[in-house]
Symmetry: C2
Subunit: 330 residues, 2 copies
C-alpha cells in the first residue's frame, strides 16, 4: 500500500490531523484560542518579543542531512536562539510549513514531532501557522516571547565591558562542511543539526543587571560581533587564544580558530557585561551547564574591531561571515 502523501489528504485533512496531534503539545497557560480559527488569541506579559526565521531546503538544509525530527527541532532552536539573544522566554509558536505534494505525510508528522518536543521543553505552545504547497520544502517559525524581567539588545555594549561567549565555537560549521562533503555522521554533524537553546542562561544574565549588548552567533563570531559593535557604536578586542574552540574533531593548525571566528551556525550567545559579572560566573556556569568564556573586551568605536594573539599582536582577519545571498559563507 502506498504511504499517504500531502497531496492525498489535502490542506484541511492536514489541519485536522495537526489539531488531533498537537492537543497535548499545545497546552500552556495564556492560550485563549489555539489552532483552528482565523487567528490565535493569547495572553502574554509585556513587553512582547517577536521573531521569525526560516529553514529552506537547498539553502539551509538538505533532506538527506538528518531526520525530519532534527529538522523540526532545529526550526525551533534557531528561533528560540533569537528570543534567548534578547534575554526573553519563548511562549507561543506559529509554524509555516511548505512542501511539495509528493512529500509523505509521515515525514511532515515527524517534523512537527521534533518541533513540538523541543518547544514543549521550553513550555512553548504551537498556536497557529499555515500549510501550503510549494516546490521546495521549508519550515518557517514565528515565536512570541515574553521579556517581563527586562531584555537585552545589540545596542547595549559599553566601553569597558568584558566580552563573553557561551559554549564552544566552530563545531557546528565543521559539521556543515562535513555534510557538504557528503558524510553524514560524527559529533560535528550532530552539533550542526541540533543547535543549543540558551534561553535559561540568557534570562539569568538579564537578571544580574550587569548585561551589556547581546546577540546569538548565527553568521559567525566576528560577523555577529560586528553587528554588536555597529549597533552599540563601540569597538572590540578579541583575544584569539581565549576563544573556546570546540574539541571533538580533527583539524589542521589554525582551522579550528577559523571555524570558531568565522564559521557561524553556533547559536551560542555573544554578549558584553560589566566587569563585575566575573563574580557571578561560577553560579551562571552551574545553572547553564555550559562554558561561559571571556574572550575580550569592548573598546571605543575609533579603535575598531581587532583580533589579537596572547602577545597583543594584531592578527589579520578576513571580513565577512555567512550571507544568504552573497558568494561568501556557503
Amino acid at each position: 500500500m502506498r504511504r499517504p502523501r500531502l497531496g492525498d489528504i489535502g490542506e484541511f485533512g492536514w489541519i485536522a490531523r495537526l489539531l488531533r496531534r498537537t492537543g497535548a503539545a499545545g497546552s500552556r497557560s495564556g492560550i485563549l484560542l489555539g489552532l483552528g480559527d482565523d487567528a490565535a488569541v493569547v495572553r502574554l506579559a509585556p513587553p512582547i518579543l517577536v521573531t521569525t526565521d526560516v529553514l529552506v531546503e537547498g539553502v539551509h538544509f538538505r533532506r538527506t542531512w538528518g531526520t525530519p525530527r532534527q529538522l523540526g527541532r532545529r526550526a525551533f532552536a534557531v528561533n528560540a536562539s533569537d528570543i534567548a539573544a534578547m534575554g526573553g522566554i519563548p511562549a507561543f509558536a506559529l509554524v509555516d510549513l511548505r512542501a511539495p505534494a509528493s512529500v509523505p505525510v509521515r515525514y511532515l508528522d515527524e517534523v512537527y514531532s521534533g518541533f513540538c518536543r523541543a518547544a514543549a521543553r521550553y513550555r512553548t505552545a504551537l498556536v497557529g501557522g499555515n500549510t501550503s504547497r510549494s516546490r521546495e520544502l521549508s519550515v518557517a517559525v514565528t515565536l512570541l516571547g515574553s521579556a517581563a524581567a527586562g531584555y537585552a539588545t545589540r545596542a547595549g555594549c559599553r566601553v569597558g565591558d568584558d566580552l563573553y561567549v557561551t559554549g564552544r565555537l566552530g563545531l557546528a560549521r565543521a559539521g556543515l562542511e562535513t555534510l557538504y562533503d557528503g558524510k553524514r555522521s560524527g559529533v560535528s554533524v550532530r552539533r550542526f543539526l541540533e543547535p543549543p537553546v540558551r534561553v535559561v542562561l540568557a534570562q539569568a544574565l538579564v537578571r544580574t543587571g550587569l548585561l551589556g549588548g547581546m546577540i546569538d552567533i548565527s553568521d559567525g563570531c566576528l560577523q555577529d560581533l560586528r553587528h554588536l559593535c555597529a549597533a552599540s557604536d563601540v569597538g572590540a578586542i578579541v583575544e584569539a587564544h581565549r576563544v573556546p574552540i570546540a574539541p571533538g574533531y580533527r583539524h589542521a593548525a589554525g582551522e579550528g580558530l577559523r571555524l570558531a571566528l568565522h564559521g557561524g551556525e553556533d547559536y551560542e550567545l555573544l554578549f558584553s557585561a560589566r566587569p563585575t559579572l566575573a563574580h557571578h560566573l561560577p553560579a551562571l556556569r552551574r545553572r547553564a551547564r555550559c562554558p561561559i568564556t571571556r574572550i575580550g573586551r569592548i573598546v571605543a568605536a575609533r579603535d575598531g574591531l581587532r583580533v589579537v594573539d596572547q602577545h597583543g599582536q594584531v592578527l589579520p582577519v578576513r571580513h565577512g561571515g555567512h550571507d544568504h545571498f552573497g558568494r561568501r559563507g556557503r
Copy 2:
C-alpha cells in the same frame, strides 16, 4: 548598466536598505524595538491576536499577474482579513520574503512599498522579518493584533442567529479564472489582486455585542460556512436568491451563483448575529461603506447545511471549495 539584483547586494545589504526605507512606515506607538535586532519588542493591549499566511509564486500567484505593489498589498490584506475575522485590530507585522538571487532589487522594493502602504493605512508597523534566498518567490506575513474590545471566533454561532455576508461575492474568483485564462485586465482581476480589508467593520460588529461566529471567506462562502458550522456545532440555511452576487462581469445563468458560493478569494466577512443586529445595519453599512446582506440563518446541527431557492426548495450543491493540496479549486 545592469540593474542590481538581490544576489548583488546580499542579505545584509538588503536589511540595511529595508531599515532606511521603513523608518517612516515603522512608526507607531508600542514599538520598543523595531527592525534590526534579534527580535522586535512591542507593547500591545491583551488579548493578543496572531496569525500568518503566505503567498507562494506558482501556487497563489504568478509574477505576471500584477504589479509587485499589488503583491505586497495583497500579502497584507489576506493577513489583515484573518485579524478582521476575529474582530481585532492589526498592529505589528513581520514579513518573510524569499526570492531567487536573480530577482531585481527594485521588484522587492516595490513589494515592500505595497505592503507598507497598505499596512500604514491600518496603523500597522513592520517590526521584523526575514529575507532568504529561495528557488521560488514568496511573501509570508505574520500579523499581531489587539482584541482589547473583545473578539469573535468561528465557534460563536447560535441557533436562531441570522447569517450575514459583507460585500459582494464571486468577483475575485472570476478574476482568478480570467488570469488563468491569460487575460490580465478588468474589474474582476483587480478585485482578485486587491482584496478588501474589513477591519473597521469587524470591530464595529464586535462592539454591538450581538455578533455570533465569524470567519473570512477565502475558501468559498459555503466551504467557510462549513467551517463555521463545524466549530459552532450548528447547521445553516442559505437562501440563494439573497446571496449578493457581484456585478461587473458577464456570466452565464447560474455561473455568478456558483462563483459566489464556491469561488473563494473574496476576503469578505461571513458572520452570524442575533436577530436584533438588523436595527444596527443602516449605521454599520454607512460606517463600513460596503453592503452587509442577510443570506440565511443558523439552525440546529441535525438540520445540516442547506442552500434553498426563494420557494424554499433545496438546491443541490457540490461539496468542497478551495484546497491548496487537493484537485478541487485550482
